[in-house]
Symmetry: D4
Subunit: 220 residues, 8 copies
């Protein structure tokens, strides 16, 4: 029987997670030193676990890259990983942003989805101020198995998309904007209060969480 976790002193690496959850423990890098990250990756490799590091700054990535040359990095998404799992299903996840500034969070969702072995189609900058951009892409959106919508400011896009399709929508509020957006609170509340049912919301700027949830649904 495989050990359930590895004790590193500063961390207990959960080795049983792949069995329970279908994917290994993902490392949230904020709040960890690069030395700690180094030790964690070593253990993950030793135990043949997939590697996925989120919210990793480029500087820390460069440090790790010296030790693990095969590590890849999406600088927009701030995600590092060893390899993308093979895509098995035909279904795909559609990832949409309301604006250009929402792209980094969308990329975080997309990289997460691809590393977990999902097919992704992306559509960027469908603002509510010009809906023809939405209608042009409606076919791609409707055929997805699940849709991730990333939006800041007034964040009305998830409601609009959800109102047009019979698919689950995962809404990601971003902290993008200023003034009375209060660091993403406005977008978050908009999404939670949507009058269109069929939307699940994740934390502000949590592209990873949205990708992970979309992967569970897409593969389910």
């Amino acid at each position: 029987m495989q050990k359930e976790f590895v004790e590193l002193g500063f961390a207990k690496l959960d080795l049983d997670r792949f069995r329970r959850r279908g994917f290994a423990e993902v490392i949230f890098c904020k709040g960890k030193t690069k030395q700690q990250l180094l030790k964690i990756i070593k253990e993950l490799i030793k135990h043949k676990q997939p590697i996925l590091l989120t919210k990793l700054e480029r500087k820390e990535f460069r440090y790790l890259k010296r030790y693990f040359p095969s590590l890849k990095y999406n600088p927009l998404a701030k995600i590092a990983y060893a390899k993308k799992l093979e895509v098995k299903a035909n279904s795909y996840v559609c990832v949409i942003t309301a604006g250009t500034a929402d792209i980094p969070i969308a990329e975080e969702a997309i990289t997460t989805l691809e590393v977990m072995g999902n097919k992704v189609k992306k559509i960027y900058d469908i603002g509510v101020a010009g809906l023809h951009r939405l209608y042009t892409n409606l076919d791609t959106i409707r055929k997805a198995k699940v849709i991730v919508v990333v939006a800041g400011m007034e964040a009305a896009l998830p409601s609009l998309v959800s109102g047009l399709v019979a698919k689950p929508v995962i809404a990601v509020p971003t902290s993008f904007g200023y003034g009375a957006n209060f660091f993403g609170l406005s977008a978050l509340l908009t999404m939670l209060n949507s009058c269109s049912p069929g939307i699940g919301v994740v934390n502000i700027d949590n592209g990873f969480g949205a990708g992970y949830l979309a992967s569970l649904i897409n593969k389910g």
Copy 2:
């Protein structure tokens, strides 16, 4: 020279307001006793001022009606008035609601507009979850001089409408909804953070204020 105000002890009735602002002092009834309202109306009539009473409960209206039989009442809008000013301009104000529950606040705006002598067209229940209802009415919306949009919950409608027209939009958040709408805060923040410029926001449930502002623009 006309007296500038009447001293009632509990109130100083501003008689100069019609000259300064183009309309007499409007009486906000919340927080005033029916006896106080009675005295105020007497003075308004004595000084030949138009009468507009907002947020007036039906019970108080009935009390006042006994003294001023010509007083009219819109129970949905909770507004009483003596008469509607004659409409002079050809232009009109379009008042739209996102849902059925937003109608009382829209009626407050409409009665205000009509009492102040404006032509109004109304379109109710254009939710973002079914946009074809918006497109069917687009011509009426586009030809208005100014548009009032009343919406609760996620309140995305003002952004959508504003994105389709070259007219000023006045957005009225309503307290309608539950949970994380926090008594209208969610709708208010959505409207303030709209990515579509050309929107001015008034207080939560302030149909009167929206109507008043729309009247100033429509007649300007």
Copy 3:
């Protein structure tokens, strides 16, 4: 071609929704008068749409029942409906509550799911203060296609459940509690900040929204 919506003056009933979204327009009863509800149901029946009424008080239900004797009501869930769609899939949705007081919101999710034609298994009162109650039911939870977790107060249950399974979790914060729960805000924030990925959150007390989203995933 079928008409896209019916104009009722106070409402525009969206008849195209079944085609677009896989289910008819669901009527949110809060903020509508019983006369308005009556007219809406008549139109829904006339156009052969399924009927689902949420947040309907018992008094209003009784009024409607006189006109539509076949209307059914779940008083805990405050939901009325005409009939439950036939269950076609083998997969099921597991609905869990943290406490007894969360049951009404869970019932709202369950009735929604059943009316939309889903198989449901329910497990009530799995508080985090006694985890053996969770482990006893783990097999039922793990085999679900999607899991709805309803919790108030500190709302830690979705994190716990999500950490044990490879299935999407829909978390419903409830307003149940007192003091610093601030009407459900505490539970909402807990769920959004979960360190276990794979959770989508809906509005406070929004059992209907959770059921609807779960149905989309279960049938997807």
Copy 4:
């Protein structure tokens, strides 16, 4: 027929907006890289669209200036533009600030107004602590077609101005102040709760939005 939008990958440039809204898509620069801005401007020029860039830092402006030498910049307003539209109407917009520190946001409104072809008169530093400064300028204020009032801290000026005129007032709360102003929240709430009807509020520090709305009203 003109193309409705240009696909740039990271952005979908809305070319139909001028037709719909009377002005081209305005570029909100925060959250976009300078390379993205460069590509967007190239497309705007190619399609003969007016250019207006908001919240643009001086460093980014200098980069763009090398490619488009005719680009102009208001460093206080953080706005760049190609040219100001010709003024056709005789009416003007009056832009007022409560304090000196509110000037940058007022300049953002003014530059927006001028680029959109409006005549503007500005009056700076009319604090409520010295009202004679307001009365001296009352004639200029009263003759405007629409008035923009920019204020931070307690933000009482819009109420005062609105109480003296029969013109629509657009209120812009600024984040200027400290302590319990909570980044502009105090000013925002003051403006929303004004007892003087006829005020529409825009987002905190949103000088552009105020200018855009004022332009729609001034030209309407």
Copy 5:
């Protein structure tokens, strides 16, 4: 030597307060039963202390009146007292309200001031939407030793008054209003962020506290 306090079990009545603070312990009635109030008054009378009861509902007053026929009551102010101290100073406190709905809180301040032996002049309903009402009364305001300003909604009046005089202003935010006033929060923040120095703010609806502070200043 006088006893420092009386032990009543549910309360410890502070008998030393008159010596330390210049006035006896004032009884805040909210949260106390009428039986508790009865016992407290008996002790106050026994120890020859002045009696001042705040936030006392009429029903409770009637109960107490049966036992203490000389007890007086201001129903607007919800204050009961035994007698008003003799006025010794020539100076007076000016109490101003912005609107009619702020009068109950102003009356609470005035009764407190009179019971504590101060001369008071009151001016009601000086809204910022009609400043001539302020200027007419300016002489009375300027000659006061200290000014109490009671205002709800946007609460701009304390700033205006303070900007015109060389006297300390005590500002009392009221919970009067609706929507984004958030139970008085808006008025409170406005007053705290005033750009006119010389203002001290008390709790929302705390007319008593304002009167007490004004008395200390007036007699100081």
Copy 6:
């Protein structure tokens, strides 16, 4: 081996809790029907568990009393119980209130403590506005093993008490007050920000939680 929990459908009664935690599952009555409470008590009695019901309204108590005549009730504390455990330790818990209005929450703590077998000394109404009332009781406070301080409004008392003793203080904010206390938020924040270390805070109005924690410390 004893069963770990009893399945009641609407609840899973945790029978293992006494072994794990030293006391049986306490029933939080808010959100449960009287029929549900009845069934729960029957099971508790059947399994020889101690009975403690919190936040129980008098009406519900009377219903239950008919079935379980030995049930006792503290109407101030809104707590019902079958019997108080025998006191074994000599040490005691001191429960203090700042005001009279905090007594119900203090009684909730005291009844909890006594049912769990602790000796309690109580001191009521030690407001910070008269500190001699604190010093008179200092000896009783200092000799306690743990101190519970219940306070609303500005809630400064826990800091004061903690600064005088070498004992752990449990602070209970109450929702008592008005205006900017925001339902106990002010008291809660005061207690969390105390400059005197040695204070643990529980939820607003959570007298039961304070009593339970104090019991664990007193018996530890």
Copy 7:
């Protein structure tokens, strides 16, 4: 007759303020450029006005010092001034801090008071965790005409001081602390909710406002 204000374009300097308010316009330096400050000071000198500059950074002071060598600076208080007015009254203001970290804000109050011609006594670091430090200084506190109390964190000191004296207390919350102090919000709420009447509160970190108000009272 003296000119009422000087027009500087970016500012309108209020020359009438000394007459109205007993002191010239005080310059709040945040949000103004050093060039603007330079021009303002030149005008103040030209019109023989006293000079008081608040929230002035040392760098800006050094720039101004080159032009006005007689300008003085309190770097702790971040205040510059030309000279202190002569003290005429015998009465004094007592300024107290709860902790060492509150001293800069206290110094801002003290310099303001001294420039305005008041006698000041200061007592620093009287934390509530050691009240003997308060009692030792009680005589100095009691004999003051008005007391300024500066405190952060739980900010209980104003309540304590007010409870011991018959003098008005001005409470200044500071943003000092961390975590749930939320930038001074905790201290602000504590002070507003004080159970000891006789306290007026100013904005967070507003030492100047406290000093100004204290000066009005001390000289009144």
Copy 8:
């Protein structure tokens, strides 16, 4: 008799605290200059008081170290001290973190505990997403006299731990996380709303306060 405090001008050092509270005044370094810290330490040494400095940056420590070479520093905990008191009791405190990022706050608690003479056992990184890590350590947790649990994000761990043991739990919310954690507010609310009684909460990131309280309980 020993002097009660030392007057340093900027601080009043409380020398009586050891007698009253069992430990000397602990110096909170934030907001104090290094020169002030130097003077404070000199006095503490002169009066033979134990030294404990919290929230001390490394740079300031290095400055102090030159004067007091025996001063020790835990850079993770940001705590400096002269020596650890001898451990006398057999009982120990168990300090647990939910994640790796919570370790600095846990170290602050641990160093505080050790300097105050307590035995500590620590367990790091017991996330709720992998509960087997908790069960493996359950024996160590259960045998502690008191348990400190440090957690950010959704902060569910204190509820879980408390539900398994009969010991007091001190919960420390950390500001670790992003988005809707609002700087630790989410974790704080979770802990306050725990459905498992027996938890006392301290301020966000207040490891020192948790250690101090745990020491009082452990030695009690």
